[in-house]
């Protein structure tokens, strides 16, 4: 419990630091935008860069954003939980004895990193969805706040993602039995406790890892470009499309991860709090795990 509080405090410190730094960066200067944009020459270029490019990505962006993206996002956040609900009702959760031998799976540092990442990522998903479906909430101050939270959390997550990557990358390279794992969908379609082919992390977790870290990095970078319009407009449009599409994938996997850890495997959440997994669970779900 003390560790929990400690990690909570750490998270808050990171947030506070990021807020102070980012506010300082954004302090407005008096004659901003004078020479930068409006010398006679830049005029033409600036504008050429705007209208000239519209036919390239302006139109696709407009169509995707207005007609497609929100529908897919709606699909992602309704269909995936729906599928999982069916799974839960039909197949049900796997449960393993927690009173048996325990194996230290995640050390303290790993768990702290995970939870900071988890909270910031969850907030990114929630605020991201709030922005996408902002119209439902009437926009304005709440959604503006969501946007600001999105920006802060992006900065937090960008840092955490680096740690995550370094901690876990050695266990995350694909192996041959990962293919098998994929074919049997990790054994989640059956109630039987049959050992599934997976090392410390199964193929699903590996996919999640790569997408969350590398994909998260891409999200952070594209988000940074969109935030500051740091690039010519067509690049910004492209990045916005990438940000949205990748966002769909990440939300899908995020929801999967949530379901797995909270519902599909009973007590799974506990392992990320205490750091220990029951040996039975390891033997079944991570049958190729090499004990030290």
């Amino acid at each position: 419990m003390r560790r929990l509080i400690a990690s909570g405090v750490l998270i808050m410190i990171v947030y506070a630091a990021v807020m102070v730094i980012s506010t300082a960066i954004a302090a407005p200067t008096s004659m901003d935008g004078f020479t930068q944009f409006f010398s006679p020459e830049n005029y033409g270029e600036l504008y050429g860069g705007i209208t000239g490019d519209w036919q390239k990505l302006g139109q696709p962006f407009t169509q995707l954003q207005s007609e497609l993206f929100w529908k897919i996002f709606l699909g992602v956040i309704t269909v995936i939980p729906g599928v999982f609900l069916l799974h839960f009702l039909i197949v049900g959760a796997k449960s393993f004895a927690h009173d048996g031998p325990q194996i230290l799976f995640f050390n303290f540092f790993t768990r702290i990193v995970h939870w900071i990442g988890a909270i910031s990522f969850a907030l990114l998903v929630i605020t991201g969805l709030l922005i996408i479906f902002g119209a439902i909430f009437g926009g304005g101050a709440p959604i503006r706040l969501a946007r600001h939270i999105h920006i802060i959390n992006a900065m937090v997550f960008a840092v955490i993602a680096v740690f995550m990557f370094l901690i876990w990358v050695k266990d995350m390279f694909p192996t041959f039995y990962d293919i098998k794992w994929i074919f049997i969908l990790g054994g989640y379609l059956s109630k039987k406790k049959k050992p599934v082919p997976a090392g410390k992390f199964n193929a699903g977790q590996k996919a999640w890892f790569w997408l969350a870290t590398v994909g998260g990095g891409i999200m952070a970078y594209t988000g940074y470009i969109i935030w500051g319009m740091n690039g010519d407009l067509d690049t910004v449009r492209l990045y916005t499309i990438v940000h949205n599409v990748l966002g769909m994938v990440l939300i899908s996997l995020f929801l999967t991860h949530l379901y797995m850890s909270l519902f599909a495997i009973k007590g799974s959440l506990h392992s990320m709090i205490s750091g220990y997994k029951p040996k039975e669970e390891v033997d079944i779900l991570h049958s190729r795990y090499k004990y030290e």
Binding site: M31, F34, T35, F38, S39, P40, E41
Partner: protein
């Protein structure tokens, strides 16, 4: 301006020489483009730069700065050579024609090409366009006048219009666009050193006339001068006042200039700005009256500088005369803000302190109406009589009744009047004269012949021919008692003439007889009291064509030219071009105005034009290794330098550098913003372009030659 801005709507072709109306007179463009669109009138733009006006032109003629006269005389020659001149107009209304033709003959299209760089074929084409599309409206501005031969150039413009028979016609005329809403008014009031108001000159008769108007004793005025002889002598000009302070040149003055009042004047519009700054710091007293601190306020390092916050035009009222010679009334919008005072109040306080308020304000009880009335009373030469404050205000209140096409009120309280009663408006019943020298209308309805100003007869020096200066028989305004030329009116009231008869009886008599008070004469092509009787080309003092200096040399040096020695021949050195190979010309940009004290203090205008720059052709920039946004140093033959940003653009050709002159606040990149009064710094500062404009002054008017200097350009 002989016609009006609106009258350009009726033109069949337009030629602009040294005028960039799109940037300097944007409002005029609605009439210019109307003529282009509706009349299909070609627009010919003659300029060293491909200006924004050239972008609207049908024919762009790139002329070498300072060679305008050669081009125009070339057009005159080409028109005459093809028999396109208006023979009847010339026979009846033009004097000295044959003498002029003899001179013009020299300017064949090929000779013009050599001097101006304009292809002979283009000169021929332009002449043909002008001949086939009459009447032509001819416009010039500072690009035509700011040369050592500026006065000859302007006369050449007039001669072209006379030869084509475009004077006194709707759609024709010489239409000089003035730079502010009251430059014409300021000129008419002769805010100059060589004339009393209304172009009366400085003769005894002129002084006596104005003393009668002011109702002060002539001897009292004489007593104000150190010696009577100085009353009749020209003073220093705006272009060279600082020489009077510095006293480094040979002067003809009782004492050097010690004090200066700058009333709404940005010093950085003066050429040779380095010397101006030196003079400002040598003055014993400098008073600056302006809504914004001008560059002079920041530049002076001395203590004896006084800044008086003058009110803007919106905080005061009074009459102004527009470029179309129209009178308008400025109404006050708000009281002067903060501690500023309007010009009338500052003047009144100054005059009271100096102790001649009684004489100064003898006729003026109600400000500003009585000032206009005093002007009405005395300025008879150009018919400032009929525009009473009451009539002006009536016009302002009935804008909607005036026709946009001919500016005449159709019905309403101003029925029959032309808008603003363009001068001459001889009496309070006169409608104003919308087009000068138009003999198709009765004088009482705005018609006018050419003025009889220079005697009745003249024997020309060049040919020995004697010519009657009055108009030929058959040329007269409808209703005229005399059906031909007649001299000016005098002795209607004994001892006076039409210019000095304050009872205005002479004017009324003339109008009643259907005649112009100033006579009916010919326009002269030969001006025998000028150094060049017929306009000829002379190379600029600092010429980029040393080979032409011998063929077209400049004038002899002029001692006591407006009190100061002015060099011509001794300044014209053929070898100069080797070290200073590029032609330097200056101009305005649409966002800023004059010295820029006001516009550079507007955040929005500053946002649009935030930097001083030099326009450089891409080819020249590449040859000199100058890239976009590089800083360049421009050096004048006088040794002064500025550091500005390079603006690489094909607007100028590869031998010419263009500078806008609105900037001040830095010198060689070093800012003196800290020297402005706190909180009054302009948003935008830059090196003053006039620091590097060259030596050179017009032979008649002494206007500065800012358009045709030489310079050296290096990458900073």
């Amino acid at each position: 301006m002989t016609n009006s801005l609106n009258d350009i709507r009726h033109t069949k072709s337009m030629i602009f020489i040294g005028s960039n109306a799109t940037e300097n007179h944007p409002v005029s463009m609605q009439h210019i483009l109307h003529a282009k669109e509706v009349n299909n009138a070609p627009i010919i733009v003659v300029d060293p730069r491909f200006t924004k006006l050239a972008a609207k032109a049908t024919e762009f003629v790139r002329v070498r700065p300072g060679s305008d006269c050669a081009f125009i005389m070339g057009l005159v020659n080409e028109v005459i050579a093809n028999g396109w001149e208006d023979k009847e107009f010339i026979r009846t209304r033009v004097a000295g024609y044959q003498e002029m033709v003899e001179v013009a003959k020299h300017y064949t299209p090929e000779a013009v090409e050599d001097v101006t760089g304009i292809p002979a074929e283009q000169t021929r084409r332009v002449a043909k366009i002008l001949a086939q599309n009459r009447p032509t409206s001819l416009t010039w501005c500072m690009g035509g006048t700011q040369h050592t031969i500026g006065s000859s150039i302007t006369r050449a413009f007039c001669i072209l219009q006379l030869v084509l028979g475009n004077m006194g016609k709707s759609g024709g005329g010489t239409n000089i666009f003035r730079g502010h809403d009251n430059v014409q008014g300021a000129t008419d009031m002769c805010v100059l050193s060589h004339s009393l108001p209304g172009y009366y000159g400085l003769s005894d008769g002129a002084w006596k006339h104005w003393c009668r108007v002011w109702d002060v004793d002539y001897d009292y005025i004489v007593g104000r001068f150190p010696d009577k002889e100085w009353m009749g002598k020209k003073g220093f000009t705006l272009a060279r006042w600082y020489e009077g302070v510095l006293a480094e040149e040979e002067l003809e003055t009782p004492s050097p200039v010690k004090a200066l009042i700058q009333w709404g004047c940005g010093t950085n519009s003066n050429s040779q700005y380095n010397r101006v700054v030196k003079a400002l710091n040598k003055l014993e007293l400098l008073v600056i009256v302006d809504p914004f601190p001008t560059a002079a306020a920041a530049l002076t390092k001395t203590d004896n500088v006084y800044l008086l916050p003058g009110a803007s035009q919106y905080e005061t009222s009074g009459s102004v005369t527009s470029t179309s010679r129209q009178f308008q009334w400025r109404f006050k919008v708000v009281d002067p803000v903060y501690d500023s005072k309007d010009d009338y109040e500052i003047m009144s306080l100054l005059v009271s302190k100096l102790g001649f308020a009684d004489e100064f304000y003898k006729n003026i009880k109600e400000v500003p109406e009585d000032i206009t009335r005093e002007i009405n009373k005395g300025t008879l030469t150009i018919g400032y009589n009929g525009q009473t404050p009451e009539r002006i205000k009536k016009h302002m209140e009935n804008w909607h009744t005036f026709d946009i096409e001919d500016l005449q009120a159709k019905g309403g309280p101003c029925d029959g009047d032309y808008y603003g009663m363009p001068w001459p408006c001889w009496t309070e019943e006169h409608p104003g004269t919308p087009i000068l020298y138009d003999v198709s209308k009765p004088v009482a309805e705005g018609g006018l012949p050419f003025r009889n100003r220079f005697g009745l007869e003249k024997t020309y020096d060049s040919s020995g021919r004697k010519e009657n200066q009055l108009a030929a028989d058959g040329v007269y305004n409808p209703g005229s008692e005399v059906k031909g030329g007649y001299p000016e009116f005098k002795d209607v009231v004994p001892g006076t003439n039409w210019k000095t008869d304050l009872t205005q009886e002479t004017l009324k008599t003339a109008i009643k007889r259907g005649m112009a008070p100033f006579g009916n004469a010919r326009a002269r092509c030969v001006v025998w009291n000028f150094p060049d009787q017929v306009p000829i080309h002379r190379e600029p003092l600092h010429s980029p064509r040393p080979d032409l200096i011998e063929k077209y040399p400049t004038y002899e040096d002029q001692p006591n030219h407006y009190r100061v020695m002015t060099r011509y021949k001794s300044e014209q050195k053929p070898e100069l071009v080797k070290e200073f190979p590029y032609v330097l010309t200056t101009g305005r940009m649409v966002e800023h105005m004059g010295g820029g004290a006001e516009t550079r203090s507007s955040k929005y205008l500053s946002e649009l034009q935030p930097e001083m720059y030099a326009e450089i052709n891409p080819r020249l920039a590449n040859n000199l290794g100058i890239r976009k946004d590089d800083m360049v140093v421009i050096e004048s033959p006088e040794g002064s330098k500025i550091k500005v940003k390079a603006f690489i653009t094909p607007r100028v050709d590869d031998k010419t550098i263009f500078l806008p002159y609105h900037f001040a606040g830095t010198l060689m990149g070093e800012s003196y913003l800290k020297d402005y009064p706190e909180g009054h710094e302009p948003y935008v500062v830059g090196d003053p372009g006039n620091t590097v404009t060259n030596y050179g002054y017009d032979i008649i008017t002494q206007i500065q030659a800012t358009k045709d200097g030489l310079c050296k350009v290096t990458r900073a």
